[in-house]
């Protein structure tokens, strides 16, 4: 499997007094499609910019294929970051940008680029800064995919696209990834449509790590329980409740944590229905903050209302220091 892996160790990146990445330690497996998830301002773009050597760490290390990317010609030749702006020549024709990228990038495929321009209905003679937002995003995706870099990072690149373009993007990404395996990092806060493309998921918040694990594992970390209120309460006793809805005498709660072996038997006995939680929901729960205006203290994490946690236990979410000493954060068993 080709592709550059990433190791981040105790990474801190500050802009003046502002700490964008605050002691991050994580790995991105070589050759995987990894989802980098985080809310706006969580540090995703700063992390990716550091990996692409657009920024230097304030302290700690960010290694790409085992080496510091800063002024590293070999690593940089195989690393491509497309930010929301497109990272292209704004006042040039699209074709001119492709000429430029073709010269600079060893694995660039002009054939794939031309095919994708067609798919997204982009005119190579148009100038990038005359395009609509969606078309700009699409062109960023074209450049990012056709570059075929060992580490390809697409930062929020599909957010501006309309639905047909997004699906065309997912299909193009998968098809080309299968033929030319490489490490692909897709960052976003909107993951509903794309989460099944991920093999690995990293969630960050306030510049710290909430979790990093195989996507399939993350999916089994949550559970919805629906049924008569008292039965639902009895089923959920002692579990971490992250969401609760009530409709008359019927309740639905969202539980976080690994499933128990006897879940199905207990559900049957109590007459409640168990359902899946989608990754987007889990993400919202994981990064929900106490106040609607956000949390300046930087201790956000999995917050649980006191009434949901009679034991009042405290601890951190993944042992990564994500939750700090916030007493309302419930320990999640692993």
């Amino acid at each position: 499997m080709s592709g550059f892996g990433v190791q981040v160790r105790d990474l801190i990146v500050r802009y003046g007094d502002d700490t964008a990445v605050d002691g991050l330690t994580l790995d991105i497996p070589a050759g995987s499609i990894t989802g980098l998830l985080g809310r706006n301002g969580s540090g995703k773009t700063t992390l990716l910019s550091t990996l692409a050597a657009f920024r230097r760490p304030t302290s700690g290390r960010a290694l790409v294929d085992g080496e510091d990317p800063w002024e590293n010609e070999r690593v940089m030749a195989g690393t491509c970051l497309i930010r929301e702006s497109g990272d292209v020549l704004a006042d040039e024709k699209l074709g001119a940008t492709l000429d430029y990228v073709e010269q600079a990038r060893p694995h660039f495929s002009r054939e794939l680029a031309e095919r994708l321009l067609d798919t997204f209905e982009l005119d190579p003679k148009a100038k990038q800064n005359t395009l609509s937002r969606g078309k700009k995003s699409a062109f960023g995706a074209v450049v990012g995919l056709a570059t075929r870099a060992e580490l390809t990072m697409l930062d929020e690149v599909y957010l501006g696209m309309d639905a047909p373009s997004r699906y065309a993007f997912y299909d193009a990404l998968l098809t080309d990834y299968v033929e030319h395996p490489r490490t692909i990092v897709l960052s976003s806060h909107l993951i509903e449509e794309i989460e099944r493309l991920f093999e690995h998921v990293v969630v960050i918040d306030h510049g710290t790590l909430l979790l990093a694990e195989p996507a399939d594992e993350l999916r089994t970390r949550g559970l919805t329980v629906t049924g008569p209120s008292d039965a639902v309460e009895r089923f959920s006793a002692g579990r971490t409740v992250v969401g609760r809805q009530q409709l008359g005498r019927t309740a639905q709660v969202t539980l976080f944590g690994p499933p128990a072996a006897d879940d199905d038997a207990r559900a049957r006995d109590l007459g409640v229905e168990l359902g899946p939680v989608d990754v987007q929901d889990l993400f919202v729960h994981l990064t929900a903050r106490a106040g609607a205006t956000g949390d300046a203290g930087g201790t956000a994490g999995l917050r649980v209302a006191p009434s949901d946690d009679p034991a009042g236990r405290s601890g951190s979410l993944t042992g990564s220091g994500a939750a700090g000493s916030d007493p309302t954060v419930t320990e999640v068993p692993r």
Partner: protein, 135 residues
Amino acid sequence: MFDGRDPIYLQIADQIRSSILDGTLQEEEQVMSTTQYATTYRINPATAAKAFAELVDEGVLYKRRGVGMFVATGARSTLQADGRERFFAEVVDPLVDQAHVLGIEVADVVKRIEDRATRIGSEAETRGAAQGGAR
């Protein structure tokens, strides 16, 4: 598609098992490649590969080098045997429990099962006759 509670690779494996059990996939028939599976359902190729690997381990699928994945001979009867025990535990036991809660006599349940089985049998016979007794 694949919106159950289990990891997606298990749901893919289950789907292929069901297709073999209901005859959609015949023994010695080629199944989709992991690549086709990934692009058709927009899932990660590694996830699809994991499902196929599990079925190969179980002897349900086997690999012909350079050609692809095929359903193993005997896969259907193996799956039927595995499914038998699970059917009693997951379908029959809860059914008996529920009947008890509702105060339904076991004899009534048995009669209903027999009626239903007779009807399915005669429908299959009619279908078989219509197809000139094929099967």
